[in-house]
Point group: C2
Chain length 323, copies 2
């Protein structure tokens, strides 16, 4: 759930005066998202999302994220659009946090992923990669491979409380993944966090379409095919952690219907998927061991990602991932 | 927060087929409410709330609650209205829970209560009491005075972990409150849980009005003036637990602009406020000592209500509450 910060009536009213959106009609916390506080906001002019950016988001980077969302939309990627205030500014402060209003996207994220979702996701991911190509400013991936060993170090003393032997296993995994990490693949703007709850779908007249992508606050400039690794992990494992090859093939086919992977990218997908698994494993492990037992925060289970990592480390090659 | 149960796409789609509401457009969990799982639902015909009733709600009582909401609306109380399916039924099953769709109410609950809110609240509360007078079926208050000693008994072994001496203090309080509990006051349908987050307001052209009441799932048949006790506790204490007499006077004046309290009710408000304080204290204490430390549930602090109880037990009489 994600309402870490609540907003007083007076502060909200004063904030809304900076926008030409009419009178406040409804305001409710949204029980989705993990990093920031999100509210659904209805005014006389329509529906919006109000986001308060919490501690993990660097305020100096917000213009980059909002600019990327505008850039992508102008090239056909449906994503929330920052709403400018009367002063032209989309970013201001509310309840002591950086805050922005964005447009409301219709759609429902899939609770149960089907191969058809994966095909549409792949198509949208490749479209995003092409659309981002001329977004001029780079943002390094703060959670890329250089960050993984420091994350593991910060959990070294306590990580085995989650599972005995875990820290050793992650040491061995990093010793295998980091030297194999590719550097020469096509780079560009990636989403880097495209989990099912960040992708909305709609069905109309029996036909499903992808209605938009949300939550760009981990977006960065990195290897395009790394996003495929993130999505293979997030979309193609069954609840029992079996890898669903059909979903993977749909995801890749959807992607390649827009942007062909080059041979070096195809060869690198297995190690990119390993890296994507260890990246989410490590941040979840960090949160797990650093969240006080009484804190009212939903901690995500790091071990789900250990099972994904083990699958990828023992997979025989790109074919096992549908390539 | 309240999304205890999530809903698969297929289950939601099948559920919506029972309603003449058009196609699904959006579906998001709401981070408000404590007892049930609530989702904002948009379809081709508008906005709705989908509620899954969780374990504290007895499914057999749901028709009583939904019927009361229909009855009150027909007499001018704005509250969510159950939406009937094509078969005429408003209640069905989703994700293994009883579930209903209700209408969406515009409005914003007050994060910071002002005297004007209290006046409007009092007016709405009295309107509700009059409107409920001819709702024919009684529902006993499951959390009325007969329930308080058993609740305390169930916390006897562990309650002092929250604060040393707490169980003794509550024993003494019940020994004072229960014998003084009135029985001959006017009775009727009460809300019994009218906290600020259950009351929506809107401002239009600089004028504030109350746009609706929600969450009737503690409603029952009991002393009308007990609802005043609940509201005095929930609306008239400052964050530092000082009692705000101005807010109390506004609440009572708003109430009496619609329904006059008789002299016996006025005399009983202090003990009713004591009882309302101990009722919320005991259920919060029960939840506190019975919620596993790791559970991802927001526990409300019982001690906030101990401070209210102490205020009421030492208040010199009805005048101290604004009567």
């Amino acid at each position: 759930m994600a309402v870490y910060t609540d907003v007083s009536d007076e502060a909200l009213a004063a904030f809304l005066e900076a926008y030409p959106l009419g009178e406040l009609v409804a305001f409710r916390g949204i029980a989705e998202g993990v990093e920031n506080s999100n509210f659904s906001l209805r005014t006389g002019t329509g529906d919006y999302i109000l986001t308060l950016y919490e501690k993990r988001v660097d305020p100096q980077e917000l213009p980059w994220f909002l600019g990327l969302m505008r850039h992508l939309a102008s090239r056909g990627v449906t994503c929330p659009q920052p709403i400018a205030g009367r002063d032209g500014e989309a970013l201001r402060t509310l309840a002591g946090r950086p805050a922005a209003i964005t447009s409301f996207l219709p759609g429902v994220w899939p609770r149960r992923v089907r191969p058809e979702h994966c095909r549409l996701l792949g198509h949208a991911l490749a479209t995003l990669h092409l659309a981002g190509a001329d977004y001029p400013v780079e943002r390094p991936n703060a959670l890329g491979p250089h960050a993984w060993m420091p994350l593991l170090e910060s959990c070294r003393a306590t990580g085995d409380r989650v599972q005995p032997g875990l820290v050793d296993e992650l040491d061995r995994a990093l010793a295998s993944i980091l030297p194999a990490w590719p550097t020469q693949l096509p780079r560009g703007q990636i989403h880097a966090d495209l989990f099912p709850d960040n992708v909305f779908f709609l069905e109309s007249a029996g036909r499903r379409h992808l209605s938009g992508l949300i939550d760009f606050y981990f977006a960065c400039t990195d290897l395009l095919a790394y996003d495929i690794g993130v999505c293979l992990n997030a979309w193609c494992f069954e609840p029992g952690m079996e890898f669903n090859l059909t979903k993977a093939k749909h995801l890749l086919a959807g992607y390649e219907s827009v942007r062909r992977l080059d041979p070096a990218e195809r060869a690198a997908v297995p190690v990119l998927a390993q890296g994507a698994a260890i990246r989410f494993l490590l941040t979840r492990l960090y949160d797990w061991v650093n969240t006080p037992a009484g804190a009212m925060v939903t901690r995500k289970d790091p071990l789900e990602y250990l099972r994904r990592l083990r699958f990828h480390l023992t997979a025989p090659g790109p074919e096992a991932l549908g390539l």
